[in-house]
Symmetry: C2
Subunit: 62 residues, 2 copies
Amino acid sequence: MCEASAYLKQADKETLIMEAVDKVEPDENGIRLVSIFGDQKFIKGRIHSLSLVDHKVFIQPE
Amino acid sequence: MCEASAYLKQADKETLIMEAVDKVEPDENGIRLVSIFGDQKFIKGRIHSLSLVDHKVFIQPE
């Protein structure tokens, strides 16, 4: 399985937001994360970068 | 390996842009894609959505 972990990326640290993320859906106000278990979180921010081989999604808070 | 394929998402179709994508780095003007082989492409657009379990990155052209 190729789900990823989502991290909040701040100046000097990365904070784990959610593990086992499947869907990532940005909209005007932020980013919806949906895990493989169906859990959802909505984060105010934008996608900073993805590192897919490392299974990491980085989100920059706004 | 959990690289993905990147698709350009338009109204009624999805066009493959790049396979084996590792890094995805949005900036003000578009999105840089870097494959596991080091190939790079820069696409004018924004991330529409990710479906990580399906290994898919959808980009909406701007």
